[in-house]
């Protein structure tokens, strides 16, 4: 790993990388949770030899080993490319997009998917730097309606109902959603 380069470079590489350490630890924790969950699966003696726990245990052990290898990599300086390291993620953009997703989950059952979709659309567009909220809302509404007709009518998927959906159904006069 640490072959070549000037002593300074070697030192820089050996500094643990925070993001990578968290990821490696996360994989290891997942593996431990998996072992714990697997051990709680009751195994009937009939299946004792090739029961439902063998593959989960193998998977958990493999993930645990990979988590340790990732941690080793992380402590030795991580694996992110220099290019990726230089970019600081745009927090504002991420927050806008995440806000849109959270609002969407909260509103989709109560307000109906059209309204939830419009809000999601406006938030994501805002995250990508668009400031024309009214225009985005209109385009978002058009998108939601196209998707509604596409999914609900063509694919026959029931995507629930809300204020707008009920109004559409009344206008088209077809069966309720």
């Amino acid at each position: 790993m640490a072959s070549g380069g000037t002593p300074q470079e070697r030192f820089a590489r050996l500094r643990p990388a925070i993001g990578e350490t968290i990821i490696g630890a996360g994989v290891l924790v997942l593996a431990i949770v998996m072992v714990w969950q697997t051990l709680s699966i009751p195994v009937s003696p009939i299946y004792a030899q090739v029961g439902p726990t063998i593959v989960p245990i193998i998977t958990a052990l493999a993930l645990g080993m990979l988590g340790i290898l990732l941690l080793v990599d992380a402590v030795q300086g991580g694996w992110q490319t220099a290019e990726e390291k230089e970019v600081t993620p745009d927090r504002t953009a991420l927050l806008w997009i995440i806000a849109g997703l959270v609002l969407n989950v909260l509103l989709i059952t109560s307000a109906g998917f059209t309204i939830a979709s419009v809000i999601l659309f406006v938030c994501v567009a805002r995250g990508f730097g668009s400031k024309a909220i009214v225009r985005d809302a209109l385009i978002g509404a058009a998108f939601a309606l196209v998707a509604y007709i596409g999914f609900a009518k063509t694919l026959g998927i029931n995507i629930g109902s809300g204020l707008v959906e009920n109004a559409i159904e009344r206008v088209i006069g077809s069966e309720g959603g």
Partner: protein, 503 residues
């Protein structure tokens, strides 16, 4: 019955007006999503999976195959005009293609890419026609132990060999296998990894994972680094008619690219990246004008584009004959088969000849459609590139949400979708490949099934995987693929004073 007469029957299926229409819809949609950055065939087919409840299998697979091939054609347009590869397999096309476009030869670059794709796609589909029955004859002798070993080999190659790191590829793979294990074990009825949530008893839907990784994760990633970095679209320039010299420089790379791409795609390793890079380096070696490489050499577009499409065709061979998907898109198609209750494998050609041969025939027809869609109509697709990013990505998320919510109308699925999206973002940022997650999730349960069958037959004897000659050979190959590169690197370890990077 030989393959040729079977194929003629296939054409009878594919040429019915309704199937021609499905093929046209598929190829058009495929080209569109190939052109649009942020959308790919795996995501699109995942969102369209509910169609399997509505239409008969032949029509659905003609549609999916059209999307699959179309995305390959559309992806090259984006690489050439935008220098942002739409699909990972078209990275190499951007190297020379974008330079050609900057030099005012966009037309020739698009033409050699489209015609090369056509040549490779057609030869590749011919390859499927003749190779598939041979593989089937051979695969009929496979037992569960052999199948399990074959899946192990595919796991190793798609995760450990193709990516930048074996550890990260395998971590993604086992994460996917874990996702596939969640739910009720079909053999014993035991719930596994459901954390007491009744919503998880049926398992996590592959749509949730594919859409989460490829739509939500991708949007978060692009959004996090979008800022002011605008991509520059290079306007169409130069004639779409290639000159005699350009034809002369293109046809050999097309054929060489096909010869490289198809066999690699057809191996249970798959992947389109390796053949495209390989083709690029071979063309660079063989060309009589190496000075043009890096500045817009047409050979560097023609070869990799052909390799890309030929390997896409090759991937369908293990998919249809062994039920072994080696790309994320093929894995999603496998789950479409499962949703019809059809098991792809050696018996598929016998039990569903209409489906398989109709599908293969429609690939030939689709290639012709795609050539027309992508050359005379190229200006239409260029318009798609002008959709502003805020609208494009907001639209992608709205479609992703509705497509997922529609499966069960359960907010739990939406929360899962967004959680997987968050994981997908971190995976992008920390260089974990996404395809092994999907492949692990879909192939994992099948591997487990074969593993347990083999163990039951052998009465719990673990050595069964090593005492069956075929299985032992395949496992040895997998071990070689996994540890070979490491051992090789140790064997030819550079001297201490070796300057890195001069190799």
């Amino acid at each position: 019955m030989d393959a040729f007469s079977q194929l003629l029957n296939g054409f009878a299926v594919a040429l019915t007006p309704i199937n021609l229409l499905w093929c046209l819809v598929g190829t058009t949609l495929g080209t569109a999503i190939g052109v649009l950055p942020g959308l790919g065939p795996a995501l699109t087919i995942a969102l369209l999976l509910p169609i399997t409840f509505k239409v008969e299998p032949t029509a659905a697979f003609i549609l999916f195959a059209g999307i699959y091939y179309g995305a390959m054609y559309g992806g090259s347009t984006t690489s050439i005009l935008l220098n942002t590869p739409g699909e990972s397999a078209t990275i190499v096309t951007a190297l020379e293609g974008n330079k050609m476009a900057r030099n005012g030869r966009a037309g020739a670059a698009l033409a050699t890419a489209a015609i090369g794709s056509f040549v490779a796609g057609t030869i590749g589909t011919l390859g499927i026609t003749f190779l598939a029955p041979i593989v089937v004859d051979w695969a009929l002798k496979f037992g569960p132990a052999d199948y399990f070993s074959l899946m192990v080999l595919a796991f190793v190659t798609v995760s450990a060999v193709l990516g930048s790191s074996a550890v990260r590829g395998l971590a993604a793979l086992f994460f996917g296998i874990w996702l596939g294990l969640i739910g009720v074990d079909l053999q014993t009825g035991q719930a596994r990894f459901t954390f007491g949530l009744p919503e998880l008893l049926d398992g996590i839907n592959v749509i949730v994972v594919a859409v989460g990784l490829f739509a939500v994760g991708e949007t978060l990633y692009v959004g996090s680094r979008y800022r002011l970095g605008k991509d520059e679209i290079i306007p169409l320039s130069g004639s779409l008619w290639m000159t005699a010299e350009e034809w002369k420089r293109s046809w050999k790379p097309w054929l060489r690219g096909t010869a490289i791409g198809f066999p690699i795609g057809a191996m249970p390793a798959g992947g389109a990246e390796i053949p495209t890079f390989l083709s690029y380096y071979i063309e660079k070696k063989l060309t009589s004008r190496p000075q043009e490489f890096g500045k817009g050499a047409i050979e560097g577009v023609a070869g990799p584009e052909a390799a890309n499409n030929a390997s896409a065709a090759g991937v369908l061979v293990p998919m249809l004959t062994l039920g072994l998907p080696t790309s994320a898109t093929a894995a999603i198609m496998l789950s479409a088969f499962q949703s019809y209750g059809i098991n792809p494998g050696p018996l598929l050609l016998e039990s569903q000849p209409h489906l398989v041969w109709g599908l293969i025939a429609s690939l030939f027809i689709g290639n012709v459609m795609l050539l027309v869609l992508n050359l005379p109509l190229i200006a239409v697709w260029v318009k798609l590139l002008q959709i502003p990013a805020p609208i494009l990505y907001a639209g992608i998320l709205v479609f992703a949400t509705i497509g997922t919510y529609g499966i069960t109308q359960s907010p739990v699925d939406l929360i899962l979708l967004y959680l997987v999206g968050g994981i997908g973002y971190l995976m992008r940022r920390y260089d974990f490949p996404a395809a092994p997650v999907i492949i692990g999730m879909i192939l994992g349960p099948l591997a487990e099934q074969n593993f347990r069958q083999a163990m039951t037959i052998s009465a719990g004897d673990w050595t069964v995987f090593f005492t069956r000659p075929l299985s032992a050979i395949i496992l040895a190959l997998a071990a070689l693929a996994l540890f070979g590169p490491k051992l090789y690197a140790l064997a030819v370890r550079p001297k201490p004073d070796h300057v890195p990077g001069d190799a």
